[in-house]
């Protein structure tokens, strides 16, 4: 039996992707005209906050694919091999979104957007004892180095993992010994990536990129929370592409069994996200220390309470109730719907993480901006990811057919 292993990007697919990108660019232009080009800092902050939220969110979501690859590699997982090329293709987008994201972040830091990163205003910091205290960590130089280094390391290590996977496409390994060596080599590189991941996403990076927007506030849970949010959205993205390829007659060997397991990840990590959400929120609420509750004030009770509770509903109750049953996780329609909902829900999560602080005016009142623009920017990123993932998928066979664990994946059953 021959298999269709070369993906040809359908014309309609690219048309949609490009249209979405056009929508994104229009939204950015619209935002620039209505706020970014204005003279006052708060209007400008609204423009940059949108770019920051979208670029950071989508970068972490596509990067979650490489985390999935490396985690399953270290755990010697075999079941995912039937669709392994999908997360590979998604992770190939990391350098593209990474460069965009880094450019935006550096533009904000060095372009004088102090309403977003208060700590980047050296004049202001001089009179703010807390920010002065934090200067050793929150300063432009360190921010720039950490940002650039992270994007480079993710891109290079991800490239190496994909290289290793493709190196077998035309040269199958002959002996068990060779296969063992190959697995070992993968393990070493994956471990390297995981260490970098631990030092970036799981600790320092969310503090710099996101938590420092509320520069006075702090929470030790913040980075793990951010990780949970983007990992579950990352799994949802993988599910979307698997369903898309199946519907187009590709990925013969990825069956309902595989989709079922991806669905389990979406379910389990939605609950895990909720666990971290609850722990962070409850502990701050319970201890009731003003320095900490200040973060949740505009979110849980203020202007952002609608978004705050809506995203909680979407990210917790919906996956819990809808993805609970076996049938739901094996149904293309349900999985597609839930994947879209989860990606949107965590986008909202990032929205309420980023916007309240820059959207607070001189009087201390927090506003919710016209969110339609941000939807537009998000669609632009979606289009970009669609386009780039499509290209990446078409460049390599869809089946990692010579991987030592591929046969296990073929007879995988839940």
């Amino acid at each position: 039996m021959s298999i269709r292993e070369n993906f040809v990007v359908p014309k309609r697919y690219n048309t949609i992707a490009i249209s979405l990108m056009v929508v994104g660019i229009l939204a950015i232009v619209g935002l620039y005209v209505t706020s970014g080009s204005k003279d006052d800092a708060h209007h400008q902050a609204r423009f940059w906050a949108s770019l920051l939220q979208n670029s950071v969110y989508f970068l972490l979501v596509v990067n979650a694919s490489m985390f999935f690859i490396c985690a399953t590699t270290l755990a010697w997982g075999g079941w995912q091999m039937a669709f392994r090329r999908v997360p590979e293709a998604i992770s190939a987008v990391v350098p593209v979104v990474g460069v965009i994201c880094a450019a935006i972040l550096l533009a904000i830091t060095f372009g004088g957007q102090h309403a977003i990163y208060h700590w980047s205003d050296t004049e202001h910091v001089k009179h703010d004892p807390t920010l002065l205290h934090k200067e050793g960590f929150l300063n432009k130089g360190f921010f720039a180095v950490a940002t650039v280094l992270t994007v480079v390391l993710w891109s290079v290590l991800g490239w190496k993992m994909r290289q290793l996977s493709r190196s077998l496409d035309n040269e199958p390994l002959k002996t068990v010994e060779e296969r063992r060596k190959y697995i070992w080599k993968n393990t070493v590189w994956a471990a390297g990536y995981i260490v970098v991941f631990a030092l970036t996403v799981m600790s320092s990076l969310p503090w710099l990129w996101l938590m420092s927007i509320d520069a006075h506030w702090y929470s030790t849970m913040y980075s793990w929370y951010t990780f949970a949010s983007t990992f579950v959205a990352g799994m949802a993205l993988i599910a979307l592409f698997v369903v898309f390829l199946k519907n187009n007659g590709y990925l013969e060997y990825a069956t309902n069994e595989h989709l079922h397991d991806i669905g389990k990840f979406m379910f389990a990590f939605s609950v895990f996200w909720t666990y971290l959400w609850f722990s962070q929120f409850m502990l701050i609420w319970y201890a009731n220390i003003p320095e900490e509750t200040v973060y949740f004030k505009p979110r849980a009770e203020g202007a952002y309470s609608g978004i705050f509770w809506l995203m909680f509903l979407i990210n917790f109750l919906a996956p819990l109730l809808i993805l609970m049953t076996r049938g739901a996780k094996r149904n293309y329609g349900t999985i597609t719907f839930m994947a879209l909902l989860i990606i949107f829900g965590h986008w909202l999560d990032f929205y309420q993480m980023v916007f309240p602080s820059p959207m607070t005016d001189e009087k201390g009142v927090t506003h919710v901006p016209m969110i339609l623009y941000d939807f537009g920017v998000a669609l632009g990123f979606v289009g970009l990811i669609m386009f780039a993932v499509g290209r990446a998928l078409s460049k390599a066979p869809l089946l990692a057919k010579n991987h030592p664990f591929i046969k296990e994946s073929l007879i995988h059953h839940t």
Binding site: S203, E291, K401
Partner: protein
């Protein structure tokens, strides 16, 4: 014909040697059916002696009150709660192995799950002792249960995480016990059917609940396992989460930090696996079960140890960093003066914790070390010492110098009865474990048989032909459509 039992030959076998189903039964039932060895008796008697020491210590405490312990106004929690959290933590690996690894379909769990689950139950029993006897007037212990009472408006405090502990731990204990025991049923039936003595037949006959091994029984058994695994998975997280709430809901520097819940869970799994290693390294040797608890099992568990140890390490550093970053003087004082500073009374305990929990497990990045039994044994002890000190650091260094310098306590040392109580829980733990290893199969017999034809050494060797098939050939022959 569709092949359902294939596994890549790259994976090392999980059952060594040339075994068939009968041989597996013989190997695992042998220690239960043979007379206990002299080594067993020695270990058992030492454990009982420790248990008696514990009973004496607790009796002293009940007779004369908690004044027998060296707690004081500033350090209201000392050794007793440290020990409580330590034992609860150890009780995490069993359910993680049986539930979460079952959901993740990790075949290697079958070699170690039975002993780990038993260990979990005993560890939780030991943990429970501490809050119970810490109550002082232990005859009023039932006051923690929220039942309609005649004490008027006097109800338990539902706002208190200590009460949540009561629910969390009793639920965890119940579900773990059910999980362990329902897994034991088929094995107990095997022992019953093999029994020659009358008492043995009667004992295992009652214990096996009339298991016949019919298809219906198996079907229900498998369904039950899955349901219990589903229930246990959130429980693994919830128990230590709620234990962490005991500290984190407060406003005590060093206690109130949002990362506590997941970090406590990771630490609990870390210490639980260390204890599993300690016990299994001895068990496999004494009961000659090296073919079932192979070096591969040891290596995999060492990987879990380096992973969870590193997660805990990130949490330590995050906490430390945030203590500085937060710009809260009290928080920073707790870390800088009470923990980091080696010239402070307890500074050494912080560094001991860092050394044992974060630095030392890093040697498990090396394959040679992961497969070295001596190193593993030594490390498993070291990790448990480190994890004990983690709780000690959290509990004592945060409170012995709190907000009010006039209340700062002098050096806290436990009395002989606090030490005796702790030793007594070791007695309880090992007495139970020795009895378990004598009367129950320490390896899940039925589950080993379940993976034998896929992961057994002699069966894997027969897979050569399948291993050489190309992916297309293999897919054509064995791939099956699941309604996709």
């Amino acid at each position: 014909m569709a092949l359902l039992r294939y596994e890549s030959q790259v994976r090392p076998p999980l059952v060594d040697g040339s075994k068939d189903y009968h041989q597996v039964t013989e190997d695992i039932c042998r220690p239960v059916e043979a007379k206990p060895s002299r080594l067993w008796w020695m270990g058992f008697l030492i454990s009982v002696a420790l248990l008696i020491f514990g009973i004496v210590s607790v009796t002293m405490e009940v007779m004369y009150g908690t004044g027998q312990w060296n707690l004081n106004k500033t350090i209201g929690w000392g050794w007793d709660i440290t020990n409580f959290v330590w034992w609860v933590g150890i009780g995490h690996a069993g359910t993680l192995i049986s539930a979460i690894l079952l959901l993740f379909r990790q075949g290697w769990r079958t070699g170690v799950n039975r002993a780990a689950e038993a260990m979990t139950i005993f560890a939780v029993m030991c943990a429970g002792q501490f809050p119970i006897w810490h109550m002082g007037r232990v005859w009023n212990a039932f006051f923690v249960l929220p039942y309609a009472n005649t004490r008027g408006p006097l109800w338990v405090n539902f706002n208190s995480p200590l009460l949540w502990d009561v629910f969390a731990i009793s639920t965890y204990f119940t579900v773990s016990l059910l999980f362990w025991y329902s897994g034991l049923l088929p094995d107990l039936a095997t022992l019953r059917d093999r029994a020659k003595e009358k008492w043995r037949k009667a004992f295992y006959g009652v214990a096996a609940f009339g298991w016949t091994g019919s298809t219906k029984h198996w079907q229900r058994h498998e369904a039950l396992s899955l349901v219990l695994a589903g229930l246990s998975t959130p429980l693994v997280l919830s128990v230590h989460t709620i234990v962490s709430f005991d500290f984190a809901t407060s406003v005590v520097p060093g206690w109130h930090t949002t990362i506590f819940p997941p970090y406590f869970v990771a630490g609990a799994i870390f210490s639980g696996f260390a204890m599993v290693q300690t016990l299994l390294l001895v068990t496999r040797k004494v009961l000659a079960l090296e073919d079932y608890i192979t070096i591969e099992h040891i290596e995999v568990m060492n990987k879990v140890i380096v992973l969870t140890g590193s997660i805990v390490g990130i949490a330590y550093l995050t906490e430390l960093f945030m203590a500085w970053y937060s710009h809260v003087d009290y928080e920073w004082f707790a870390f800088k003066e009470n923990r980091l500073s080696l010239s402070s009374p307890y500074g050494w305990s912080y560094w001991l914790m860092m050394g044992c929990n974060v630095l030392s497990p890093q040697i498990f990045w090396f394959r040679k070390m992961r497969r070295n039994l001596l190193v593993t044994f030594f490390m498993s002890i070291l990790v448990n010492i480190g994890m004990w000190f983690e709780r000690f650091v959290i509990i004592v260094t945060s409170v012995y110098r709190d907000y009010l310098p006039s209340a700062w306590s002098t050096y806290y040392t436990p009395t002989i009865w606090e030490v005796g109580f702790y030793m007594g829980t070791f007695g309880l733990f090992f007495t139970c474990y020795f009895l378990f290893s004598k009367f129950f199969p320490v390896i899940a017999l039925a589950e080993i048989k379940h993976i034998l034809k896929r992961s057994g050494e002699n069966y894997k060797e027969k897979m050569d032909e399948v291993e050489e098939e190309t992916t297309e050939e293999f897919g054509g022959k064995h791939g099956h459509d699941h309604g996709a």
